[in-house]
Symmetry: C2
Amino acid sequence: MLGGLTLGRFTGGDPSLLRRINSAVVLHALRDAETPSLTELMRVTGLSRPTVEGVIEGLAESGLVVEVPPDPADARKQGRPARRFRFHAEAGHLLGIEVGAHQVRAVLSDLSGTPLGSHRHDVDESASAEERLERVRGTVAELLRRSSVARGTLWAVGVGTPGIVEADGVVRLCTALPGWTGLPLGERLQRSFRCPVLVENDANVAVVAEHWQGAAVGTDDAVFVLAGLSPGAGSLIGGRLHRGFGGAAGEIGALHLLGREVTPEHLLSTTGTPLHPLDEGAVARVFALAKEGDPQALEAVNRFLRRLVHDVAALVLAIDPELVVVGGWAAGLDGVLEPLREQLALYCLRPPEVALSALGEGVIATGALRLALDHVEEQLFAVEQAPLARR
Amino acid sequence: MLGGLTLGRFTGGDPSLLRRINSAVVLHALRDAETPSLTELMRVTGLSRPTVEGVIEGLAESGLVVEVPPDPADARKQGRPARRFRFHAEAGHLLGIEVGAHQVRAVLSDLSGTPLGSHRHDVDESASAEERLERVRGTVAELLRRSSVARGTLWAVGVGTPGIVEADGVVRLCTALPGWTGLPLGERLQRSFRCPVLVENDANVAVVAEHWQGAAVGTDDAVFVLAGLSPGAGSLIGGRLHRGFGGAAGEIGALHLLGREVTPEHLLSTTGTPLHPLDEGAVARVFALAKEGDPQALEAVNRFLRRLVHDVAALVLAIDPELVVVGGWAAGLDGVLEPLREQLALYCLRPPEVALSALGEGVIATGALRLALDHVEEQLFAVEQAPLARR
């Protein structure tokens, strides 16, 4: 809500705040239009010509706005062609990084989020935290080198990783990756960058990614289920990421602890010996056997799907989203959608839509990039806390 | 976020919008201070004297502001004592109504939410929808009569009731009350009032109530569990009620359908015959027997508590609230807190606090009143949609 007192402060006439507001307004208009003229900017923003000119001058000095060559059409209409400007998205760069169990992936963009390149490396599920961090550094260095982008032009770095991540970038709990619990991941990665590094849970950035350019575009109340032996979920509520009070929202993988039921690793085992929770190869083999009709594998897959469906259904009952996106795990996801739809239809008055992830293996790096972009847009466009320069 | 374009429109200088903003700012300041003078209002709002005077004049005309007698202390300091004003909360009234399984309860307040009276009637769980509506009308009429408040001075009416309630006030699903599913409750009650009638799920208004003046004061991420044979929950996320996409968030009572497990009515039965889901007497008897050490009752209560704890735990994993408030059901709630705390501690990194409802039997009517108050405050203080007069 546009609170009365906030505006009261504004009408109270703090001149530097007013300048920031006007800058944000003009920058917004610049980004939304192609190459507006001063007159067009005045019309869209409602600001006076001297104000727009002053703001444009300041933005040009900080590199965020450039003048473009005059439009010949303008010249025909008037004696002197109108000066035209555009948002200078190349003034800085953003990185999105996935630090996962099996891969490290980085994607690079300009300040508009337009992708400029990406790079990935396999990493072993048993790699130590130091090895994994080294792999991140190598992947980033290679991506920047190939894209001919200087590290100093990075404005923000987003990171998605398994586990419960605190607001300060510390991984509070992660059973999946060796040495990850307690790791100050934000601080460690920060050493490689001079810009802000934002760390977030992988399922959380995944839902942000699908909302940005995947299966949840236009859907502000969506849940992303990162399927696996220990599933996690990220929720968007009213278009905003719901992290939970302690950053642990969506940790539905812990549900089976409640009933002291058999662990997921046992559920999907055909031999009685538990699968390694990150051994995707073993999981894929069980799914493949089931497809061939192996009765034991079929039973294991059914047991496993029932559990996953139950966990997701509990989340849906709690949150009542418009859409559930399932992804993050290649093997056997097709088999999840139908039982999930059926179960949800049984007890939901208006069952949510169920869809597969549209972004595939890049979903977490893409969501991490969107985090970085959100951060920069807040800096550029928000009125209350944002100086226009980089922090 | 105080978006650039919104402010752009403002700085663009729409004079009626500016007047509304200034009115909201002054009204806010009036409500927060006791009886401010013009000078004090100028200082707090940053507005000029002529602007404040103009706004006060308009607010006085619409009955929202009254001048109070001068403070003798002012007279001693200056030649002419300062004019002082206050928010005229008595200019209108609000109602909060619970339409429950066993009671209809109404509470009346002024425009500040200060309670002026309340009234309740028992109603039978088997009463028809028409009987229940008639009971509501009777209860409201009696309350208004006793409080000597004219129906025409009501500005908003909030209603809390079991079931999934759509934004249009229709009860989409309610298994608890006869004839409730499909009832256009908002429209039916609207016939008795000339002001807006807002209908909401009972657990949802309960969490709003506890946040306003109960166990969740100061806690913006709280869940209220309305315990019972079919528990429901209401969630506050970032201080805002989370209704879910279809108004069905928190319907954890449906969880047991998932596992095709025994129904709660059977769980708590000591005879094999299911309890009636609304028969609180029978439930209380089982709890009482358990307290006396009856082994069958003890087993039934334990079964039942395990289920309730499981349902609440699933909700906590999904949402990760700071606080869980349990209430809405007199019998045996004490016995829920400890197992709930123990279970949550088992798998939550930072288990939420668990507390009993502080508002007791009035919680739903109080939350419904807060709904009405929120509506009026939005009318009075919001800038974008609010004309200052009543709708």
